[in-house]
Amino acid sequence: MGPDRRPGIMPSLHGHHDTMNNRRIPKIALRDAEKTFRSASGQPQTALSRGNLDVNEGEFVCLVGPSGCGKSTVINLMAGFEQPTGGSVTIDGKPVTEPDPDHIMLFQDYGLFPWKSALDNVLFGLKCRGVKDREAKQKALAALDTVGLGTHAHRHPHELSGGMRQRVSLARALAVEPSVLFMDEPFAALDAFTKLRLQDELLELRSKRDLTVVFVTHDLDEAIYLGDRVVLMAPDPGRFVNIMKIELDSPRSRTDERFEQYRKELYEAFDLVHRQSARIGSSMVGKEVLEGGSGI
């Protein structure tokens, strides 16, 4: 069922798989991945064009970019909710054809079932996996403990704050012990302080567990603070434009001088993308008028 995890294997052993970068075999690999669809007006649109990206095992990769750049498409392709229209998306070397309980996605709106208590929400995931009642309950409570909600197990989502809800959703994911977490703007709806706290908790969790994380955000600071690498995307068509490796000491500090440096670099790159997309946007308007709305 789940892929074999080989945390013991040294990177150098698999270096020959990717001689150029001397990395180990990628956990997740996009090879010329493409996603096109028809918009409501019937025009073909390219949400992702020729996407090439490797995510290594245990790596934390953040996808950032302006809206419409295809970052959600990328994470949905990786998680198996969507299929590429070209190229390939693989995890552990196998093409992703459908969602897999070994790769759990977290959503901005938490995806919790409002009629179920926190505990029952966590149990849902375990029961889908066929875990027996007693064991499931133990695991669910342990997962809620991990996210600091052990005493809130019997509350319903509407009795919990936004931050707590996202913790429940995280507990639900952790309970089934996935090897990959996909997080689609998980903290975007939270207030600034809750967001900072959850970022710290996520980093701490990650230091304890063997997890590969792909994290979509539109918050550049968040991406630098969390990511081992930050992938900047641009729209029209959606594509990867810049990959920034973040080398900050662990535990990370937001007041680190190098943090400022990365921040500056990323904001500059982002500004460039932003200006380009604005230009394309305005030229597209002109083009649409000329070509009668046939697009580019």
Binding site: A79, F81, P99, P101, I104, D109, P114, W115, K127, C128
Partner: protein, 255 residues
């Protein structure tokens, strides 16, 4: 405090105003044509003392209960199914849209022809009146289930039966409840209509029977009783709905 007092004082004042208006309007007619509040109150007392009223209420509620349950039991599963099956929705949609605007009362001649006089035509008409609101509410409740619920289910590898039982039904439940609420109201309205046309007992018949004897005071008494019972039924289902919404974390209107 002041708010609470107003909530009692205002409706009470409105009722008093209506009674006065009624009294005033009735003064232009003879008692037989348009009885005043006092005569109608006396007629209600007469009905309550007479004993026939309880039989009529019991029969009416029984018919309502039977027809309403039948409508709920058929409309909810159909709605759940149609909500999940786009092809079926496309196929059956026009038929539903064609049948829905036909007033349940229009079915009456056929109902009597098919079922004769008695319980059956009234039950049939209430069934039709309750079926469509529940069906349409169920379909729209299923359609408005957030996509993320299905994504989460697929992600954890839930089986179709699991998705149906532990996601679709509970997720659609508050929406279905809204349909049940609306349907109870329309069912009650059409119960009285059905009983006026094709029955020899029940509250609707009570009104028609009073007309045959030119007892306008009893007609109005019957109308008021129908209103009061409708109010009680509505209060009960509102309470149930609120309970469910609280359990589901929704407050009143759909989130």
């Amino acid at each position: 405090m002041r708010d609470k007092a107003l909530r009692i004082v205002l409706p009470a004042a409105a009722i008093a105003a209506v009674l006065l208006l009624w009294q005033w309007a009735a003064s232009f007619y003879t008692e037989d044509q348009f009885p005043g509040p006092r005569q109608v109150a006396l007629a209600i007392i007469e009905l309550v003392r007479g004993g026939r009223l309880w039989t009529d209420i019991r029969i009416s509620l029984l018919r309502l209960g039977t027809a309403y349950s039948m409508a709920v039991v058929t409309a909810i599963p159909t709605g759940l199914f149609l909500g999940r099956c786009q092809v079926c929705r496309r196929a059956i949609g026009p038929i539903v849209q064609l049948l829905r605007p036909i007033s349940p009362i229009a079915w009456f001649p056929l109902a009597v022809l098919w079922f004769g006089i008695g319980n059956a035509p009234a039950i049939f008409i209430i069934f039709i009146a309750a079926f469509f609101p529940v069906l349409l509410a169920t379909i729209s409740a299923v359609l408005s289930i957030p996509e993320s619920y299905f994504k989460v289910s697929r992600n954890f590898g839930a089986k179709p039966v699991q998705v149906f039982i532990s996601i679709i039904i509970p997720a659609a439940f508050p929406g279905i409840m809204t349909g049940l609420h609306i349907a109870l109201g329309t069912a009650w309205i059409h119960l009285v209509a059905g009983e006026m046309l094709g029955a020899d007992s029940g509250l609707g018949f009570l009104i028609i029977d009073a007309r045959n004897f030119l007892r306008t005071d009893l007609i109005m008494a019957g109308m008021i009783l129908v209103g009061v019972l409708g109010l009680i039924l509505n209060s009960i289902i509102t309470l149930v709905e609120q309970l469910i919404n609280r359990q589901w974390g929704r407050t009143g209107a759909p989130a």
